[in-house]
């Protein structure tokens, strides 16, 4: 029988660990929110956001529910799959989700915990800030990713209890491996986060974009993966049979329990050792931060350069966006809308044009975000000899970058699949976002008053902008319904160019 006093002490320790963890979690998310200029300036918005994302149970619980829903669809795909081999391959592919999410959340959270000094207030206090807090704090946001494979695991349980246990084991292992690798990546490369530019910086930013896209489009990706794996079951089965030792193929061994156990055991041992070494290294870095790499400016001072004003504004905005993932996620929204098409949709001309129009409309939704990129730096912008027109033009380019890229993706895919008849979509990918942005920025510059500022982008302002843009949109739509051949494209281009010119002339 357990000694009640020992049990009491343990419960007390768990409670106090939870209390400290919850407090650290709230602090971490508060500091993350503070870096988001889209939220930090609005106290009410900040409080509202913090109520959700700053509460450990609410935040993790809500995310877990979403992922559980996705997991139920995955389990359904497994149930409908023919043959045990396909089911095993499907399960191993699903294990990639908690793995990738854990890498992402562990790397990102470690980076925030260290750079934002979340542990700093605890240092002078007589409290044991053990590495356990660090590990839990960086892992906690990855837990919902594990929830995604809970239903598939339960499905495996219904078929065989040993296989179910192994499925659970591989699922947990995927989470643990992702977490360990995330910590490892940060502890070795994390300090270079502070150094800007360079090829490594570019690659890192691109990596971030891809992970954000995967996280945002997890629904489509999950659906796409299920479909793709089912269609190519035979190929995957031979691959998994050949490389069953390597993760994620190793997870497909769940239906041969002994083999699976033998493969799983070394993973547990190796990653446990790696985990303890990494967490120790990372915690040491927090206790006694080492000097970060410093590069001295070369004698020639070659890095000092100037750009045309609008390009300087654009360049600044892009750097800010790519270095702040919360902001980037908002700007990647147009891609989110074209994802269904990328994952197996049709590429008909009308449908593709509609998608380009939709992603162009994001230029309007992103107006507020692009202006708020300045954040507290707005005072600096106001102190510079910057004309409103130049500023707005710079912002316009920022605004259209992502809608143009997403539209161009659709147009090029449509051309690839449909041939030359879809080629006229390519100019549309440039013209339509420019048209929306020109109208939106013309209206915004009117709202600004005499000087550059961040006008209040309320619902009415957005509605007015949508109404203004809907006029050329509707005209293009009608021309497509009534006309045929190249004439309708000519009408589309003419309307777009005329609206862009009108919008640009009105700015300032």
């Amino acid at each position: 029988m357990t000694n009640p006093s020992v049990r009491g002490v343990n419960m007390g320790r768990i409670r106090s660990t939870y209390r400290v963890l919850n407090m650290l979690y709230r602090e971490l998310h508060y500091r993350i929110l503070k870096t988001n200029v889209l939220i930090a300036e609005d106290e009410e918005k900040m409080r509202r956001q913090l109520r959700h994302s700053g509460n450990l149970l609410t935040s993790v619980g809500l995310q877990s529910l979403t992922y559980l829903f996705l997991g139920s669809m995955m389990a359904l795909s497994m149930a409908m799959a023919k043959g045990i081999e396909t089911k095993a391959v499907l399960f191993s592919s699903y294990c990639m989700f908690p793995f990738i999410l854990a890498i992402y959340t562990s790397t990102m959270n470690s980076s925030y915990v260290v750079s934002m000094g979340v542990f700093e207030p605890l240092k002078p206090l007589p409290i044991r800030t053990t590495p356990v807090y660090l590990s839990l704090l960086t892992l906690i946001d990855g837990v919902p990713g594990f929830m995604m494979i809970l239903f598939p695991v339960m499905y495996v349980f219904t078929e065989s209890i040993p296989s179910g246990l192994l499925a659970l084991g591989w699922g947990l292992m995927a989470l643990f491996m992702g977490h360990t690798l995330g910590l490892l990546v940060y502890s070795y490369f994390g300090t270079s986060v502070r150094v800007g530019g360079g090829k490594l910086g570019f690659l890192k930013n691109m990596g971030k974009v891809i992970v954000i896209m995967v996280v945002m489009g997890v629904f489509y990706v999950a659906r796409g993966v299920s479909g793709y794996v089912s269609r190519h079951a035979a190929t995957f089965a031979s691959l998994t049979a050949k490389y069953f030792v390597a993760f994620p193929f190793s997870a497909s061994t769940i239906y041969t329990p002994l083999k699976s156990l033998v493969v799983l055991a070394p993973y547990v041992v190796v990653f446990s050792i790696l985990y303890f070494r990494t967490i120790k290294r990372l915690y040491k870095g927090i206790e006694e931060p080492s000097m970060i790499s410093e590069r001295e400016e070369g004698e020639k001072g070659g890095r000092f350069h100037t750009l045309p004003t609008w390009l300087a504004i654009y360049s600044k905005d892009m750097k800010t966006l790519f270095r702040r993932s919360q902001l980037l996620a908002a700007f990647l929204l147009p891609f989110y809308f074209i994802m269904p098409q990328l994952f197996g949709g049709s590429f008909g001309v009308e449908r593709s044009l509609a998608l380009i129009l939709m992603s162009s409309a994001f230029s309007i939704l992103l107006v507020g975000a692009s202006l708020k990129l300045e954040g507290k730096g707005m005072e600096l912008m106001q102190s510079l000899p910057l004309r409103k027109r130049t500023y707005v033009m710079g912002k316009l380019v920022t605004l259209v970058t992502f809608p143009i890229l997403s539209g161009l993706t659709v147009a090029l895919l449509a051309t690839y699949y449909n041939g030359l008849q879809s080629l006229p979509l390519v100019p549309c990918a440039f013209l339509l976002p420019l048209m929306s942005a020109a109208v939106a920025m013309a209206y915004t510059s009117r709202m600004m008053g005499e000087d550059i500022s961040i006008p209040e982008m309320n619902v009415i302002a957005l509605l007015v902008m949508f109404l203004l843009v809907s006029i050329p949109y509707a005209t293009i739509g009608i021309s497509f319904a009534l006309l045929n051949g190249y004439v309708r494209w000519a009408v589309c281009y003419s309307i777009s160019v005329a609206t862009i010119v009108l919008g640009l002339l009105t700015i300032g």
Binding site: V193, R303, S315
Partner: protein, 253 residues
């Protein structure tokens, strides 16, 4: 030269600056003293063309800040109280941005940037994110950004805050050099010794009004006080308050 004529700045019911008249001459360092919330920063922001007076007129080198704020900003360098920089940029990227917006010829920019960066010993921080720099280092970036275009008028709002003694000394000497070249410098500070050391004339602002103006000696004579600190406390009605607070605290502790 900066001329401020009957300037009033209201924020709703709050009168931040209340009918201020002053003049900062060419080749002069003018110090603006006042307690927190007295209206110093508001006045300096208006001089820099960032915000407009509700009424009255401010001219910088003859240019009206209300009529042509862009022209005023072209010839002015402004350092805010708290460095407002783009934290996700590195100092070199930030300076490139400012130089681009100010359209400084590349060679001039490179030469000035190199000299200023070396003077403030910023070389090793040039490629680090501004967000990861200390307050003092950010302040240095902000000061360099304000001086990079060789401004005719320099406006500094408590800019010595956070600077290490060496950098503070360099900035101080730099201000004196700018003065010798005939430029106007106006700065606010809470460090009275600094004001006494550097400023040709001092203005004391209290509750939005300019309550006194003159050289340090003139102010001392005017307020019948021995030191600038006593002058300041006397003019801002804080002298008796300080004594009573200290008395209460000493009894409490």
């Amino acid at each position: 030269m900066i001329t401020v004529e009957n300037v009033v700045k209201e924020y709703g019911d709050l009168v931040a600056v209340d009918g201020v008249n002053l003049e900062v001459r060419d080749g002069e360092i003018y110090g603006l003293l006042g307690p927190n919330g007295s209206g110093k920063s508001t006045l300096l922001r208006m001089m820099a063309g960032i915000s407009r007076p509700t009424s009255g007129r401010i001219k910088v080198n003859g240019i009206d800040v209300t009529k042509d704020p862009i022209r005023v900003k072209e010839i002015t360098g402004y350092v805010p109280e708290t460095p407002t920089l783009f934290e996700s940029l590195t100092p070199v990227e930030f300076l490139n941005f400012v130089a681009s917006v100010r359209r400084i010829p590349l060679e001039d920019y490179r030469r000035r940037a190199k000299n200023l960066v070396e003077a403030f010993e910023l070389q090793k921080y040039l490629h680090m994110m501004i967000g990861s720099l200390s307050f003092g280092t950010r302040q240095k970036v902000s000061i360099i950004a304000a001086m990079i275009h060789d401004p005719a008028v320099l406006i500094l709002d408590e800019s010595m805050n956070g600077l290490d003694p060496k950098s503070a000394r360099i900035l101080r000497e730099l201000l004196v050099e700018l003065k010798k070249e005939g430029r106007s410098v106006v700065f606010s500070t809470h460090v009275l010794q600094l004001a006494e050391l550097v400023c040709d004339r001092i203005g004391v602002i209290y509750k939005g009004k300019l309550v006194a103006e003159g050289t340090v000696d003139e102010l001392k004579r005017m307020a019948h006080e021995e030191s600038l600190e006593d002058v300041f406390l006397s003019l801002t009605e804080s002298k008796d308050e300080v004594s009573s607070i200290v008395k209460v605290l000493s009894e409490t502790l």
